[in-house]
């Protein structure tokens, strides 16, 4: 009998602690002011633009071969390690003035080329042999590729270089040097727009414009749209389908490369396990916007960035991942076509 009473008390305590958790959600909201909100919005938009750039890589690949390229986030992780290696080789000290900008451009372009080529090679080795297999075999292969990249990141972190802390603890997160200072670039009211925010904007916006131009107005872009619509039809029209697929992997990967450099500069820490988190955020963004839809990926990325930032600021940061994954599940269950995607036909 005593045990029953104790059990009832425990269950009641469980119920109460749930209420507590919900109470925590609302508690901080009361302290909000216009500035806090705007500041969170700025942070969210900056992160969102980075997420959007990675999400484009997911959405391009999905649009063309209907593969959730699970390895994309880990590709970006390796890109961050590549960038860190280049920075370490160039020397961490002199990054001011014109030389600094040149160096930054070099790191950006180099990492983009590295990620693009790596993504192209992954496609060639792990996905192309499975072109005729089912979508799920392809997904399993992509998960395998993702694990291989994670392990390469672990190896990479053991390089005996200063930037990797002499590689003595390969699994530990590495500090990414603050090449662009987080000093305020502008201040309006109490809201600070930092130089890194500016950097994010200067890198992501031109790339998105360039990509839109490429997909809309160039021959390659037209070929990509044709392959996405109907690969057999496209190949009958003389399009080299494999080449177009390879090109989309390269382009998606190099956008991820740009994004990962900006991400590392913005967050100033990299680890071999960060690819999973980056990849999931970007994938959720792509799904939210409507996977296969380029403007959708950008919209989704910005929304996810803002939602994360608002959840960090107004709920509790430890619940942010739950919120974001909850959104993913709700979209997939109730509106799999996403915000901008066309309504899917139910196929039997």
């Amino acid at each position: 009998m005593q045990q029953t009473v104790a059990a009832a008390e425990f269950l009641a305590a469980c119920a109460l602690s749930r209420v507590d958790a919900v109470g925590g959600f609302a508690r901080d909201g009361l302290l909000s002011s216009q500035e806090v909100f705007t500041q969170q919005l700025v942070t969210g938009l900056s992160n969102g633009m980075i997420i959007a750039l990675i999400a484009i890589g997911y959405t391009m690949v999905y649009g063309i071969i209907e593969l959730i390229n699970f390895a994309h986030g880990d590709l970006c992780m390796l890109g961050a390690y590549f960038a860190l290696t280049v920075v370490g080789a160039l020397g961490v000290d002199q990054w001011a003035g014109t030389g600094g900008i040149m160096g930054l451009v070099l790191v950006l372009v180099g990492t983009a080329a590295f990620c693009g080529s790596l993504n192209w090679s992954i496609n060639r080795l792990a996905y192309r042999p499975l072109r005729k297999a089912s979508k799920l075999s392809l997904l399993v292969s992509a998960i395998g590729a993702s694990f291989i990249l994670v392990n390469l990141g672990l190896f990479w972190g053991g390089l005996p270089m200063d930037v990797f802390a002499d590689g003595t603890s390969s699994a530990a997160p590495k500090a990414f040097p603050a090449l662009v200072s987080a000093a305020p670039a502008a201040q309006i009211g109490d809201v600070i727009y930092s130089r890194t925010d500016l950097l994010v904007l200067c890198v992501t916006l031109p790339l998105m414009v360039a990509l839109t131009y490429l997909v809309r107005f160039t021959k390659l872009g037209k070929a990509m749209r044709a392959v996405a619509q109907n690969p057999t039809g496209a190949s009958l029209m003389g399009i080299d389908v494999e080449r177009v697929i390879g090109a989309s992997f390269f382009i998606g990967g190099s956008l991820g490369g740009f994004a990962t450099v900006v991400y590392s500069l913005y967050n100033q820490t990299v680890s071999f396990q960060m690819g999973y988190r980056m990849g999931m955020d970007a994938f959720i963004a792509a799904v939210l916007g409507g996977i296969g839809n380029l403007p959708g990926a950008v919209l989704g990325g910005i929304l996810i960035g803002v939602i994360r930032s608002m959840s960090d600021g107004y709920l509790e940061a430890r619940w942010t991942n739950t919120v974001v994954f909850g959104i993913l599940i709700l979209i997939l269950v109730f509106r799999p076509s996403g915000l901008l995607g066309a309504k899917l036909r139910e196929k039997v």
């Binding site: 958790a21 080795l125 979508k135």
Partner: protein, 387 residues
């Protein structure tokens, strides 16, 4: 198909060989200590068999099976640990755990019946992440990252079991689950699952209710995964921290199913032996053999030049990470998945009839995985691509 007496003999011999490992270790001091990791193999075999019901038989890819194991471990921990008021015995807690697992399976299965293929895989992945985060965050109940301990060890007829006793108990449970899975496969329910995997529309036309069958597959998978989680918790006397039940465990379970032979019970048992053996026996033993690393000091590297520098650089790097075989774990998982998908999608011990069941020619060399990993659920007629 009747089982030939030859096959029964082989199976009995294998079981006897596995059962004798603790005895041999006791009397022949080879210093291998493999009975402990072998107990892990049994637990992962149960997890793999559960996943095999959902992913192998029914063709629904689940990337969040670790979440069910976590739910099992925590339900077991809360119902037995002395700091909570329930304090059930080992066996009644095990029963409760499986029931809770099945309930969790329904909870995930019901809303996702309409979600297909790779989207379902992502939903299960998200579910796994949410369960892990909730377990960490609800620390007033779950003790957060500390995990719940101590937990009572497994008992049999009132006796607490030690190392060898647990080994045999877990082996028997894994065997019972395997026999159960085998019988289920041939039963009306199992044939229903397989027909859904092959062609959902046709099976509906044959009078199978796909929604019911899928829910049942989800619940069975979740109950077995919860059982595996509870057994581990009891063996380690702790629920472990929620971070232990992460994506990596789900992928290990998936590797077990895919490497062994998706949809094949004997394949899953072999897969558990190969993958867990690789993970907790081979890599660990190799690391012990290699001994500690003695990386060159950074100063020596700074002074060296040219070829000598390159040599020292590579040597230090190798001693930092490459030399430790446990650092190759993810590579082993990853390569196992990619190579199996490309070269032998049906696994080492393919399910009976997997080859003949391969769908039409356009599925190509991946035909078996195409059927088995459930591409069959909705052959994509036209692509719906938005430019």
């Amino acid at each position: 198909m009747a089982i030939s007496s030859k096959r029964i003999t082989i199976n009995l011999l294998l079981i006897a060989a596995v059962a004798s490992i603790p005895i041999i270790e006791k009397f022949v001091p080879l210093g291998l200590h493999i009975s402990d990791p072998m107990t892990d193999v049994f637990v992962y075999a149960i997890l793999g068999l559960g996943l095999n019901i959902l992913t192998g038989f029914t063709g629904l890819l689940n990337l969040g099976v670790a979440a069910f194991a976590a739910i099992g471990a925590y339900v077991f921990a809360i119902s037995t640990c002395e700091i909570y008021p329930f304090q059930l015995g080992f066996w009644s807690a095990l029963g409760l755990t499986m029931a809770a697992g099945a309930l969790a399976g329904f909870a995930l299965g019901a809303p996702t019946l309409r979600v297909r293929g790779d989207y379902l895989a992502i939903v299960t992945l998200g579910f796994g992440e949410i369960v892990k985060d909730v377990l960490v965050n609800m620390d007033s109940i779950t003790k957060g990252t500390q995990g719940i301990n101590p937990l009572p060890p497994p008992t049999l007829f009132g006796h607490e079991l030690g190392g060898s006793g647990q080994y045999w108990l877990f082996m028997v449970i894994a065997l019972l689950v395997a026999i159960g899975a085998r019988s289920l496969e041939r039963s009306r329910i199992g044939r229903g699952w397989i027909s859904i995997r092959e062609d959902e529309l046709a099976s509906r036309a044959m009078g199978i209710r796909p929604d019911h069958a899928k829910m049942l597959a989800f619940a069975t998978c979740a109950a077995l995964a919860a059982l595996a989680g509870a057994l581990t918790a009891s063996r380690l006397s702790s629920s472990g921290e929620p971070g232990n039940y992460d994506f990596q465990i789900s992928i290990l379970a998936l590797c077990i199913v895919i490497v062994g032979g998706i949809g094949s019970v004997r394949g899953v048992l072999l897969g558990a032996l190969v993958m867990v053996g690789m993970n907790s026996i081979v890599l660990v033993k190799l690391t012990e053999l290699m001994g500690g690393s003695d990386a060159a000091p950074p100063a020596a590297l700074a002074e060296a030049h040219g070829l000598q520098w390159a040599f020292l650089f590579v040597k230090t790097w190798a001693q930092n990470v490459l030399i430790s075989p446990t650092n190759w774990k993810f590579l082993v998982f990853g390569l196992a998945l990619v190579l199996m998908m490309i070269f032998r999608p049906e696994g080492i011990l393919p399910a009976r009839g997997a080859k003949e069941d391969a769908p039409d020619g356009d599925e190509g060399p991946g035909g078996v995985a195409g059927g088995v990993t459930g591409g069959g659920a909705s052959p994509v007629a036209t692509k719906e691509l938005r430019p």
